[in-house]
Amino acid sequence: MRPYAVIIIVLLACGCTNESLSRKRAMIALYSEAITAAADGDSAWFASRSIDPGILTNGFRTAVRSNEFTSFAYDPEVDADRGSVIMPAAAGGYWVLAMNFDESVHRWRIIRIEKSGR
């Protein structure tokens, strides 16, 4: 194998690894921003991201403040552009933050915050 082919393969491997890591980090960063904004009652943060700020009054903020468990799922094998964060709701069931990765701007967007389960 020619040396430049090896270099290209190594660069591609590093690129994939870094891409995967940066997406995971970016997803966590967005979640972290969202819960901080929710805990602060920062409705402007949600409004500026096209999320109904009404989310702050229907139990999401309470869930964020008392949160002792959060689950992140990231699956590039099935769909690299989707992720989800799940956290228990105080009154039972779960809050789900569904995210999509927008390739055009290379960043995650929260597309839905909803309560599921009981």
Partner: protein
């Protein structure tokens, strides 16, 4: 010099909204998986927190995650080429080192438990039907960094494989 000060202030305020344990979790998990894929046992062992350094074990055991084996038990199993060695580092097709892609692009799930200042992350790799998914890496946030606390094997949760 004022520009440097401005940049430092900007970095401080831009990071202020982020949660330190959460933000460094993806990097820890990536380093962990890389040592598994490359079968770098020395680095892998360095991730474990010494059992004596674990603070408030009773409070940790009261948290809702599995903590059956202490770090010494898990590392002892590796030394004896036991079940953890076979399931993680061996040349078997079902071992994690054989199963995870070297590219780093694999499904991952973090379950994060918090109790006061204690933060514990349970990390699982691979799709739900993969062999890798049956292994749960439990990491503890202590002293401003993530350290591996224990590893659980949970074949029942890995579905039909």
């Amino acid at each position: 010099m004022p520009a440097v000060g401005f940049l430092c202030a900007l970095m401080f305020f831009s990071c202020a909204r982020y949660d330190a344990p959460l933000m460094s979790l993806a990097a820890f998990e990536t380093r962990l998986s890389r040592t598994i894929v490359t079968r770098d046992a020395r680095t892998f062992f360095s991730f474990f927190i010494p059992a004596k350094a674990v603070k408030d074990v009773a409070a940790l055991r009261a948290m809702p995650f599995r903590f059956a084996l202490d770090p010494g038990d898990v590392m002892g199993s590796f030394a004896d080429k036991g079940v953890f060695f076979r399931r993680i580092f061996s040349d078997f097709a079902s071992s994690m080192a054989s199963e995870l892609p070297a590219s780093g692009a694999y499904p991952v799930r973090y379950d994060i438990h918090r109790k006061a200042a204690r933060v514990v992350a349970c990390i699982r790799y691979g799709g739900e039907r993969s062999h890798a998914h049956a292994l749960e890496y439990v990491a503890l946030w202590q002293g401003g960094e993530w350290r591996l606390l224990t590893i659980n094997i949970d074949d029942a949760s890995a579905g039909q494989r």
